[in-house]
Homo-oligomer: 544 residues x 2
Amino acid sequence: MGWSPVTRRIAITRSRLSFHYSSPIPGLVGLKLQYTSAVHQNQTTPMSTSAPRKALNLSNINPHVKKAEYAVRGAIPIKSEEYRKILAAAGTVSASGSDSASQNTTPNHNLPFNDVISANIGNPQQLGQKPLTFIRQVLSILEYPALLEHEGLFPKDVRERAKWLLEQVGSVGAYSQSQGCFGLRKSVARFIEERDGHPADPDDIFLTAGASSGVSTLLHTICASKETGVLIPIPQYPLYTATLALIDATPVPYYLDEPLSWATDVPAIRGEITKARAAGTELRAIVVINPGNPTGATLTEQNIADVISLAAEEHLVIMADEVYQTNVYQGEFHSFKKVLRNLQKESPGKYDHVELVSFHSVSKGMIGECGHRAGYFELVGFDKEVQAQIYKLVSITLCPPVIGQCLVELMINPPKKGSESYDLYNKEHNVIFGDLRERSQALHKAFGKMRGVSCQDPLGSMYLFPTITIPPKAIEAAKKQGQKPDEFYCMKVLDATGICTVPGSGFGQKEGTWHFRTTFLAPGTEWVEKLEKFHEAFMTEYEG
Amino acid sequence: MGWSPVTRRIAITRSRLSFHYSSPIPGLVGLKLQYTSAVHQNQTTPMSTSAPRKALNLSNINPHVKKAEYAVRGAIPIKSEEYRKILAAAGTVSASGSDSASQNTTPNHNLPFNDVISANIGNPQQLGQKPLTFIRQVLSILEYPALLEHEGLFPKDVRERAKWLLEQVGSVGAYSQSQGCFGLRKSVARFIEERDGHPADPDDIFLTAGASSGVSTLLHTICASKETGVLIPIPQYPLYTATLALIDATPVPYYLDEPLSWATDVPAIRGEITKARAAGTELRAIVVINPGNPTGATLTEQNIADVISLAAEEHLVIMADEVYQTNVYQGEFHSFKKVLRNLQKESPGKYDHVELVSFHSVSKGMIGECGHRAGYFELVGFDKEVQAQIYKLVSITLCPPVIGQCLVELMINPPKKGSESYDLYNKEHNVIFGDLRERSQALHKAFGKMRGVSCQDPLGSMYLFPTITIPPKAIEAAKKQGQKPDEFYCMKVLDATGICTVPGSGFGQKEGTWHFRTTFLAPGTEWVEKLEKFHEAFMTEYEG
């Protein structure tokens, strides 16, 4: 039995935070959080060396959980939440951060800002983006169908859609089929057919609790052992490496081509494949995020076709993360499914074996309903026995949230021309789209003016991912604090301005380069000016 | 590269279902589903021996996914869905099954029933249970806050609660903290304090997407390797063995004491612990489901104290699945937390190291809001470093559905006496409770009349789990069809009556005994009569 030294550590003061860094992938550094805090007073008597040991301690839990890293909600966001609490206590912002009264003239705190701006995560409604009226009207009826009895309360198309959705699901309080309600999947299939000009089958569509949940389902199915390799773009959305760490499979990073608007560099991927296979990794899948997160890239049709050809030759499942498909500000979105079907038509036989899964979500786009946790994935070309195993796997968690399933349907099937809600929907939609595009350009322009900062054109998604030059003196200072240079920079940004960003090391970047990711969701331009001012001061301090 | 023979199998006709059985635990048999069906016409050209291989096939995907079994949504429910489709096509029931027009006098189908009754799963609202008005009124405002502008639309307390919830979360469309919105967790802590008479800390509460998601989080953290063992009651809710199969850890079954109202048999557990340790299993945790699923048992305070003492001595984390805490029809619910805190007071030092996690859910109780996928767990006595790892793990899926988080708050904080909604809430609540209790007794009485059937008293939850005697001729007939006797029985029940139940082998049972689980959620008594009639015919056929 024996006494573990760990049990003695739990009496340390609350909120002592320390951050540790490690790099399982070259260039990809996550933030690992460890905190020790006082246990609740009522839970324990004072510690003594004879206290019986607990079953669980940091050294004996699942090592893969410990290994998983997720910087988007890592050390800097956690510190920003502490600042938010201080400001909320001082009465300058609300605890949820959604509704700030930031222009309080007599701040009752010592922070150099009156507001925390969460630019670390694509969370539009937290930053004041208004939900689309049509969608929320329908959802309110689904929650309380008696609202239908009030004749004049809602437009006709809202009432009709709500009635139709209720016919499909029965009640949003009832479990649906594990794969999602059939009637809603039929509607999603229709949307995909119209988007791509190729048929889609509702049986191949799985409604999910957000794209993250779908990605986890697929990676769990695909990865058979430690040796299973999945090609991951670098920089990437850290969900992928975190999930692979949990499953204990092997992420195989490939670098995106920054000077070429972060395009997918197919010859470079071939090189990685050769190296990984030589090292004994059995490659099974390739992840592509288009439009890119964190890069903001939008891939060309040719670039997508090249990836599909590679996957066909190398027998790789394509995992296409297409959650930003409507967040395209320059150029056009091409779905992997459409390009694959076109290739299959052009070259019969050559691409028929390709397996593709495409993810979509209600969290992004112009609706930004991330709090509802909903999305879908479509399986294309999968072995039906494998598909049956995926069905079984999702059935263990019963079903995705039903109100979220309905929200997916509302997202892909907006009010039709001539219906009562059409004009308002379009107006709201276009204002959001216009604001996003405008802000992306304003932020991009600001980066262009900053010393030692360069940033690719904002083509899509909700992020910019500029390269920053960090002066040697700052690199030295970071080292002293046990921080990576970009993490040091982002922490300084937060401390000085209240703007929460994520260091490039959380997503991965080429050795010796430094970046950070910021959303362009926050309204106004004041925060951009603050960022500019901070950067100038930072450079002056550390270049001097 | 080579060509796999599996790719050739995918051109077989749609819907060829076959069921295979295996038994990883003695007495526990799940239903494994394999189906092969035609791929969508547009997806493939005709198969030839030279078709390039797919990356994934049944033989190379994650073996742990294949191993996982989940009978509650297994072969029989899948067949029931097919019946439902036939009836829907014939116009006798709706596709969702929620709203049946079952008394159609001229059925346009060949089935011997006009309605499918899904008694396989605790899905109250699918079977017509009405959501509680107060709860859904508040949720409708959360989805569409502009409803607050309509003065007379909702009672004052509904409006006030909605406003308060909106202050906490900002918007239900925004991500919350990964652990759940702080203001709501404070409310949950208050509820636990009032329920148990002992303090609770909001920092120890994690809001979740249903209890299933919480169980998965905990098992993922606890299980470090294949050798990690978790004690699982038999019969059990198959989520536990399915999740352990996915994680590749070791379920260690312990049998519940059927003649003693399915009590937890602590001496028997000690025997299992000794055996498991001798076999090299490192035991870490014990799962207790109270009130029981599928057993319907409600544990006594003494029984709970005995389990806690065992866990304290053996250094086991207690995983208390308490989702049916308000579904108690005889006796009283005692939470593990309350009993633990009482023990800690009575015997200082002896129980301080005990680690307990308690799960709760909005899916059951009198609200039955399973489609919303929401719940919480409370950690008690956990090492704070381990707790930080759990926080990191849940942060990878971002946050639980926010509307569901609000629903948790509404569940644990119903309208107060004197408020406008109080009377209606209580009336609706009590009708549901009374109906459940009444139906549990009626069904129990019916089982008492059936030949060779015996059933423990219905104390709690939503299920009865009778023992059935299956005549040797029926066992023989089952064997011929490659089915377990209880699976054969349940399939016959479905084919003859449209009532979908789950065979005891899906939950585990003592060798040579046979059971099935049925909910008592379906309204009316007609289906119970059908069941009686079926049983009599079955016995006559196979006893003769």
